[in-house]
C-alpha cells in the first residue's frame, strides 16, 4: 500500500474520479460487447465532444473567479454563423473566416468583461443579456436558415492527421509520433522533478517509484496511441482532439504556472484579500470573461466543421453541458476551487456516459435523466466530503497548490 502511494504520488483518493471514469469505460465495454473500446468509437467520442470540453476549459476559469457565463452557446453559434456567412457571401478565404470568428469571440468577451469588471454587473446578468443578444443575432443574420461552411473547415471538426512514413509500424504514424512525444515529455518532466527534489526535499519520492510511474504512464499512453492509431486507414488521433489536447496543456500551464493563473484563484478565493495584496481584480475579471468567449468561438468553429454547416440553433444549451463538466470535475460554486485537468475528466465522464448509453440503444430521454443524477451524485459526494471535515476528493484529484491555498 505504501509503495502504491509512492508510485501514484500521494493520496490514493485523489484518483477517485479517474478510476470512476476508467471503470465506466470498462463496464460499458463489457455491456456493449466490446464496442466501447474501439478506434472508431474513441475517435467519435473525441470529435463529438471536443467542443463541450473546449468550453469547459474557459468555464472552469469563469467559475473559479466566482462568476458564471450563460452566453457561451449563443456566442459559439454566432461566431460559427458569421464565419459561414462571410465565407459564403463575401468570398472570404476559409482562414480569414476563422480569424473573423475568433475576433468576434474576443469582442463578445470584451463586451461581457466590460460590464462585469467596469460596471460591476454580475456575470450571471451580463451573460444572460449576452445569451439573448447573440442568440437573436444568429437568427437575425441567418434568417433562420442553415448556411453551408467552407469545405476546408471540416478538417478542424472531423479531420484526421496525415498518413506518412514507414508501414511497418502498423498504425497511423502521426498518432504514433504524438504518443512518443507524450511519453518522452512525461518521462523528462518526472525525472527533472526527481532531480530537483533529490537535493532539497526530506520525503522525496524514491527513484524506483518515479520509474514505475513512468512505466505505468507509458503503458497508458501507449495503449491509447494504439487505440487511436490502429483504426481504419486514413484515420488517426482526431484533429479536434489534438486542438483540445493543446488547449488543455496551455490552460493547465496558464492556471497553474503563471501570475495570471494565481490571480484567478486568488480573486475567486477571496476577492477583498486579493485586492489588498495587490491583485488587479478588474483586469482578472475582464481577461477571464474575454478568454471564455474566445474559447466559445473556437468551440463554434469546431462544431461547424463537424456539421459542415452553421445552423440557427447551434449552441443551444451548450453552456449547461460545460457548466456540468466543471462541477462534476469538483469546482466549487462559491469560486476559488477547481482545476483544468479535473474539469476535463469531469467532461469525459459525461461524454463517456452519453456515448455508452447510446451504444446500448438507450433513448435521449432516459440518458438525460441518468446524466442529471450523475451530476447531482458527483457534487453531493464532493460536498459531503468537505462537510465531514475531509478535504474535497474531486477537487484534490489533481494536486494544485493554488487551489488549496485559495480555499
Amino acid at each position: 500500500m505504501k509503495q502504491l502511494k509512492q508510485v501514484l504520488g500521494g493520496d490514493l483518493r485523489q484518483y477517485t474520479m479517474v478510476l470512476a471514469l476508467a471503470l465506466l469505460i470498462l463496464i460499458f465495454n463489457v455491456i456493449s460487447g466490446g464496442r466501447m473500446l474501439t478506434s472508431s468509437n474513441f475517435q467519435n467520442l473525441l470529435s463529438g465532444n471536443a467542443y463541450v470540453l473546449v468550453l469547459a476549459l474557459g468555464m472552469l476559469m469563469v467559475i473559479v473567479i466566482g462568476q458564471i457565463d450563460l452566453s457561451v452557446g449563443s456566442v459559439a453559434g454566432f461566431a460559427g454563423m458569421v464565419m459561414a456567412l462571410v465565407a459564403k457571401n463575401y468570398n472570404v478565404p476559409w482562414w480569414g473566416a476563422v480569424l473573423i470568428a475568433l475576433a468576434i469571440g474576443i469582442l463578445a468577451g470584451a463586451w461581457h468583461g466590460f460590464f462585469l469588471s467596469q460596471l460591476g454587473i454580475p456575470g450571471f446578468i451580463t451573460t444572460l443579456g449576452g445569451m439573448m443578444i447573440f442568440r437573436g443575432g444568429v437568427i437575425w443574420i441567418s434568417h433562420s436558415i442553415s448556411v453551408p461552411a467552407p469545405e476546408q473547415l471540416k478538417w478542424f471538426g472531423a479531420g484526421y492527421l496525415p498518413e506518412w512514413g514507414p508501414a511497418f509500424t502498423g498504425m497511423n504514424n502521426s498518432t504514433l509520433l504524438l504518443g512518443i512525444i507524450g511519453i518522452v515529455c512525461f518521462a523528462v518532466g518526472q525525472l527533472r522533478k526527481y532531480n530537483s527534489q533529490k537535493n532539497n526535499a526530506v520525503d522525496a519520492t524514491p527513484l524506483w517509484a518515479v520509474v514505475t510511474r513512468i512505466a505505468l504512464m507509458t503503458v497508458l499512453i501507449g495503449y491509447f496511441t494504439y487505440l487511436f492509431g490502429s483504426g481504419r486507414v486514413g484515420t488517426s488521433f482526431p484533429v479536434p482532439g489534438l486542438i483540445l489536447l493543446l488547449l488543455t496543456i496551455i490552460y493547465h500551464i496558464i492556471t497553474q504556472r503563471t501570475k495570471f493563473g494565481r490571480h484567478v484563484y486568488a480573486v475567486g478565493g477571496n476577492k477583498a484579500a486579493a485586492a489588498l495584496s495587490g491583485v488587479n481584480v478588474k483586469r482578472t475579471y475582464f481577461l477571464t470573461m474575454m478568454n471564455m468567449s474566445f474559447l466559445a468561438a473556437v468551440a463554434g468553429i469546431l462544431f461547424v466543421g463537424r456539421s459542415t454547416a452553421a445552423g440557427p440553433a447551434d449552441g443551444t444549451s451548450w453552456e449547461m453541458d460545460a457548466i456540468a463538466s466543471v462541477f462534476i470535475g469538483g469546482a466549487a460554486v462559491s469560486g476559488g476551487v477547481g482545476t483544468i485537468l479535473a474539469t476535463i475528466v469531469g467532461g469525459m465522464v459525461m461524454a463517456v456516459l452519453n456515448n455508452g448509453l447510446m451504444l446500448m440503444g438507450v433513448g435521449a430521454d432516459k440518458t438525460q435523466v441518468i446524466k442529471g443524477f450523475v451530476l447531482l451524485a458527483a457534487v453531493a459526494f464532493d460536498v459531503y466530503n468537505k462537510k465531514s471535515g475531509k478535504s474535497s476528493i474531486i477537487g484534490k484529484l489533481f494536486p494544485s497548490s493554488e487551489s488549496k491555498k485559495a480555499a
Binding site: 463529438g48 498518413e163 502498423g170 486507414v233 459542415t308 447551434d314 456515448n355 440503444g361 435521449a364
Partner: protein, 384 residues
C-alpha cells in the same frame, strides 16, 4: 498490433480485386493492392469507395442485419408513430432495429448515427433535425459501407446519402393552399378575403418548399385582389415559425390580430402543420374573432377531431405508414442486393443529385375524413 491492419488491407485487396473483375479497376493505386500490410494509404481507400460509387453498385447484406433509425424527436405524433412502426415492422421483417430519437439536438443525432455505425448497422434511416448539418457523419457512414436513407426530410450538403423518402413537399403546399381557397369560398361568402400566412421551421428544408407550393397557388389570387394579406407579411422569413414551435406561432398570431385586425375580420390562415393550426385557432378564439378557415398538415389526432367538429377546416394526411412501408421496401431491396429502386425524381442537395422517392399526400376535410381514414382504425375512432 499488425493484425487489424492486415485484415483491413486484405479486405481492401478483395475489394480491389472485385472492382477489377467487374471492369472498373481504373484505380489510382492499383499496384498497392498487391503489397502486404499497411502500405494501403488513404488514397487507396478513397479510390475503392469512389469505384463503388461510380459504378452504382449496391452489394447486399445478410438477413437479420442491424438497421439504424435516427429520428429528430418524439414530440409530435407523426414521429412517435414512425418510431413505433419502424420498431415493429423491422422486427417483423427479421431485422435487428435500433430506433433512437435525438431530442431536436444536432449533436445528439450526430453521435447517435456514429454509435449506429459502431453497432454494425447496414442501413441507417435518418429523419434529420437539420438536414444540412450531418455532412461529415454521413460521409463516415458511407466510408464504412453503410447505406443512408433520408426519411421525410432531404439530407443536404453531403455526398453520404443514397436516397430520400418523403412526401412531395411543394405538392403538399399546393394542396394546403387549394384547401384554404376552397374553405374560404364555402364558408366565408364572397371575396375579398382577409388572410395571413404562416411558414414552418426554417431549419427543416421542407418548410420553404411547403410555402413555395402554397404561394404558387395563392400569389395569383393575392395579385387579382381575391385575397388580402392584411399584415403585408408574405416573405417566408417573415412568416416562418422557428423550430415549428406552436407557442411562437401563437404569439405571432396574437400580435397580428391585435396589430391589424382590431376593426377587421380574419377569414383564413395558411398554416404549415396541425400544431400551428391549432395555435392559430386558439389565438383567434382568445381574441374574440370568428374562427377563420385554417389549413394544416400531418392529420394529428387532435386536429382530426377539430376537422370533424368544424373548428379546423382542413388538414393534409401524410400517412406515416406509407413512408415507413416505402422505406422498408428500399431496405429489403438493398438487403437482397438489388440496389436502390428506380425513381424519376432527383434533387440537387448541394453536393450530389439525390434519388428522391416522393409519395402523394391527401387533403382531409370533414367531407372526406371517413373515406381517407377507412383503413386507420385509431383515427376512425375519433370521427364520432
Amino acid at each position: 498490433m499488425m493484425k487489424k491492419r492486415t485484415l483491413l488491407s486484405m479486405a481492401l485487396v478483395a475489394t480491389m480485386a472485385l472492382a477489377t473483375f467487374t471492369g472498373c479497376g481504373g484505380s489510382r493505386e492499383g499496384a498497392s493492392s498487391t503489397e502486404p500490410a499497411a502500405d494501403t494509404t488513404a488514397t487507396t481507400d478513397d479510390a475503392a469507395s469512389d469505384d463503388a460509387a461510380t459504378t452504382g453498385e449496391y452489394p447486399g447484406f445478410e438477413e437479420g442485419a442491424t438497421i439504424g433509425v435516427s429520428l429528430p424527436w418524439l414530440g409530435t405524433q407523426n414521429w412517435k408513430e414512425a418510431e413505433e412502426m419502424f420498431t415493429a415492422q423491422l422486427e417483423e421483417a427479421g431485422y435487428n432495429p435500433i430506433v433512437q430519437a435525438a431530442d431536436q439536438k444536432v449533436t445528439q443525432q450526430q453521435q447517435q448515427i456514429e454509435s449506429m455505425i459502431e453497432n454494425g448497422a447496414k442501413v441507417i434511416v435518418v429523419g434529420p433535425v437539420d438536414g444540412s448539418q450531418l455532412g461529415s457523419v454521413l460521409e463516415q457512414a458511407k466510408e464504412a459501407g453503410v447505406y443512408v436513407i433520408g426519411y421525410d426530410r432531404l439530407l443536404e450538403n453531403t455526398s453520404g446519402v443514397d436516397g430520400v423518402v418523403q412526401f412531395g413537399s411543394v405538392k403538399t403546399g399546393e394542396l394546403q393552399a387549394q384547401a384554404l381557397l376552397q374553405g374560404l369560398e364555402d364558408l366565408k361568402g364572397d371575396a375579398p378575403y382577409n388572410i395571413e400566412l404562416f411558414g414552418g421551421g426554417p431549419a427543416d428544408p421542407n418548410a420553404p418548399n411547403f410555402f413555395k407550393g402554397a404561394m404558387s397557388v395563392l400569389q395569383p389570387k393575392i395579385d387579382d385582389g381575391t385575397l388580402v394579406v392584411v399584415s403585408g407579411q408574405t416573405d417566408f422569413t417573415q412568416c416562418a415559425t422557428v423550430d415549428w414551435d406552436n407557442a411562437k406561432a401563437q404569439s405571432r398570431m396574437d400580435s397580428l390580430i391585435s396589430g391589424f385586425y382590431s376593426d377587421k375580420e380574419i377569414d383564413g390562415v395558411l398554416s404549415p402543420n396541425d400544431g400551428i393550426a391549432r395555435a392559430i385557432i386558439t389565438s383567434c378564439e382568445n381574441a374574440g374573432q370568428d374562427i377563420p378557415v385554417v389549413s394544416g398538415l400531418d392529420a394529428e389526432n387532435e386536429s382530426v377531431e377539430w376537422v370533424w367538429s368544424g373548428r379546423q377546416y382542413s388538414t393534409v394526411a401524410k400517412p406515416t405508414s406509407d413512408l415507413v412501408a416505402k422505406t422498408i421496401e428500399i431496405i429489403d431491396s438493398l438487403q437482397a442486393g438489388n440496389g436502390m429502386p428506380s425513381t424519376d425524381v432527383k434533387v440537387d442537395n448541394g453536393v450530389i443529385d439525390v434519388l428522391v422517392y416522393e409519395l402523394p399526400p391527401v387533403v382531409v376535410t370533414k367531407d372526406n375524413a371517413k373515406e381517407v381514414f377507412a383503413d386507420d382504425p385509431s383515427r376512425l375512432e375519433l370521427l364520432k
